[in-house]
């Protein structure tokens, strides 16, 4: 497995960041992205995928926002890994987010590494990847960039914005920043702010990357190296937080991997170890280490209340958007209490909101998996909203 990933050289990686297998829009210097960090960033590139057809009235667009390690490849084979799209359970013809009814757009977030401007993109001034010279970005910056994309596509108002985890943060930011542009919002397994525990987990991941000698202060492209081990460890520790104790026990228990007895060594004796190592190794094949630093930072900085005098509800006053908030019982990364806080804020703003907690042992990752109740709820919510919008 390690050999296969090693064959992907750095040039290939920057190729996907600069010339992705996606639709691309470039905003020149006279249309910069104004960042929360106080910088006007340009030129800005946004890579995106679309599925389905935009109707004549331009009212059926659904924006899908991806999570930390996701990308724009929602419903097509991944150009690097060849694996199926990350939300094929949810998006597609006849699926809850039905591409026969809706025009689905998924952009790679700013700061990502799959074609939207990020630390792995080439800085035209130096001819080298930006690395840590890339400005620090926030969830609000991601959403601003997406709004620029929609302007470019001539879509004034979205029928819906949907996403899980960091995607849910973007959904909430959309509804707060551009209420008149969002008819329906579906934040799944999200929160109005990143918790101290989650910032702590992210910091462990970043430290793992930065502790890898191949990271070279973020200048690994110039050095011809890649902090694979650090990024793999970051992924392994993060992956644990996406699951649950019950799911790990169900899938692996204390079972040994391809052996009947312990080896009395530090090999991956246990199936769960082998699984995590595999997760780490396959992740570094498709993801940029610096990008991981930037995106986890963006999540850490997310705090809607901070933008609205400490009161989340102020961000949603008189909102015309209808919301459907979903959480999962075994999610301990974005537990139900966080979703309930979203709901309380929306109630306080007298918004139209549905909230369902789904019983599952699959943890945070449940939003990506086969959860029939999630599909039924999404379908019902979107059907009701479509009726109200006359779609």
């Amino acid at each position: 497995m390690a050999d296969a990933t090693a064959t992907l050289d750095l040039a290939d990686r920057t190729r996907e960041a600069d010339q992705p297998h996606s639709l691309v829009v470039c905003f020149p210097a006279n249309k910069p992205l104004r960042l929360d960090a106080g910088v006007d960033f340009s030129p800005l590139q946004i890579a995106y995928q679309t599925y389905g057809k935009l109707n004549a009235a331009r009212t059926n667009a659904v924006l899908v926002c991806h999570a930390l390690t996701g990308d724009q490849h929602v419903f097509n084979a991944h150009p690097v890994t060849g694996k199926p799209g990350w939300w094929e359970t949810m998006v597609g013809p006849g699926m809850p987010i039905d591409t026969e009814r809706y025009f689905v757009i998924c952009p790679n977030v700013v700061g990502g590494c799959m074609g939207s401007s990020g630390p792995a993109s080439t800085n035209a001034a130096t001819g080298m990847p930006w690395g840590l010279d890339f400005p620090v970005i926030t969830v609000r910056d991601m959403v601003r960039a997406q709004a620029m994309l929609l302007d470019h596509l001539g879509i004034d108002s979205l029928f819906a914005v949907a996403g899980g985890s960091m995607g849910a943060m973007q959904v909430l930011q959309w509804a707060a920043s551009y209420p008149e542009r969002v008819f329906a919002a579906l934040p799944i397994a999200g929160a109005t702010r990143h918790s101290a525990q989650n910032i702590a987990f992210n910091e462990v991941g970043r430290q793992a990357v930065m502790a890898d000698p191949e990271w070279h202060g973020g200048r690994y492209f110039a050095k011809g190296t890649n902090p694979r081990r650090g990024l793999a460890v970051a992924r392994m520790s993060a992956h644990i937080t996406y699951l649950s104790d019950a799911a790990l026990h169900r899938k692996f228990g204390r079972r040994f991997q391809d052996r009947d007895n312990p080896t009395f060594s530090f090999d991956a004796d246990f199936q769960v170890e082998s699984y995590l190592r595999h997760q780490g190794i396959t992740f570094v094949e498709r993801f940029d280490a610096n990008s991981y630093l930037y995106l986890t930072r963006a999540m850490d900085y997310f705090d809607l209340a901070g933008d609205y005098d400490g009161v989340v509800a102020n961000g949603f006053r008189n909102t015309p958007t209808r919301f459907c908030v979903v959480s999962f019982t075994s999610d301990w990364l974005f537990p139900t209490v966080e979703s309930r806080a979203i709901v309380h804020a929306l109630n306080a703003a007298a918004a139209r909101v549905s909230f369902a907690e789904i019983t599952t042992d699959k943890g945070h990752d449940a939003f990506l998996l086969d959860e029939p109740e999630l599909f039924a709820i999404t379908r019902g919510f979107l059907d009701g909203a479509a009726k109200a919008r006359g779609l």
């Binding site: 109630n347 306080a348 909101v353 909230f355 369902a356 907690e357 109740e373």
Partner: protein
């Protein structure tokens, strides 16, 4: 728990009108003005919200049971998983025209607080409940010497979700205590039809099996 109660009411072959809707829900729905903003507290599987939707009402719901909520949301209704006792406090003043407690009040821990929130959140409140002063119930307690069980109240005392029973007379007392104005009162008899005759309160309290009250904030 609330949805379990609703479920049993439905199972108990509650009387249905010509449209197939439960009569107690029709009585409630008739009190709601067209186009009003409504919060249904303890909305169960969403039957009342759906009925209201057909009448052009902007309805929202709160329901305790996850199954009830997920069923409602899958039907496209705006329902949140929550608890009348805990979650009404999050709603702002005057957010709704009508707040409805349909067969819910007797299952709350603090009926008075819930009723006060109801009149704070909505300019009107509609409350329907099983009348514990009904003669059948009185007879069971008097002659049987045990906690009453009826089609509408099928639970044994140790497993009932209904922890705060009241009679029509009791409810009037609470309404006065929280300063509510009684706009309308309807009692349903054992067959689920409206008792239309103008009767004194003691008569309703004895023969009304269910009661529906429309309240408003005084002053």
């Amino acid at each position: 728990m609330l949805s379990r109660l609703k479920h049993d009411l439905t199972m108990a072959e509650a009387a249905r009108g010509p449209s197939g809707s439960r009569v107690d829900l029709l009585v409630v729905a008739d009190m709601v003005e067209r186009g009003a903003r409504v919060l249904d507290v303890g909305c169960g599987d969403g039957e009342l919200l759906r009925l209201l939707e057909t009448r052009g009402v902007d309805g929202r719901g709160i329901e305790l049971s996850r199954e009830g909520v997920n069923e409602c949301v899958a039907k496209g209704l705006a329902v949140v998983q929550g608890d009348a006792d805990a979650d009404l406090a999050n709603y702002p003043n005057d957010a709704f025209d009508f707040v409805i407690l349909s067969q819910t009040l007797q299952a709350t821990r603090q009926p008075r607080v819930v009723l006060e929130h109801m009149l704070r959140i909505g300019s009107h409140g509609i409350v329907s409940f099983p009348n514990f002063g009904h003669w059948k119930i009185r007879l069971q307690l008097f002659f049987g010497g045990h906690m009453p069980r009826t089609d509408n109240l099928p639970y044994a005392w140790w497993e009932t979700p209904n922890i705060h029973f009241c009679s029509i007379k009791d409810f009037r007392e609470l309404s006065n205590a929280v300063g509510a104005r009684m706009e309308q009162a309807v009692a349903l008899n054992a067959w689920g039809s409206r008792m239309r005759l103008k009767m004194p309160w003691w008569f309703w309290n004895l023969f009304g099996e269910q009661a529906v009250f429309l309240l408003s904030r005084r002053g």
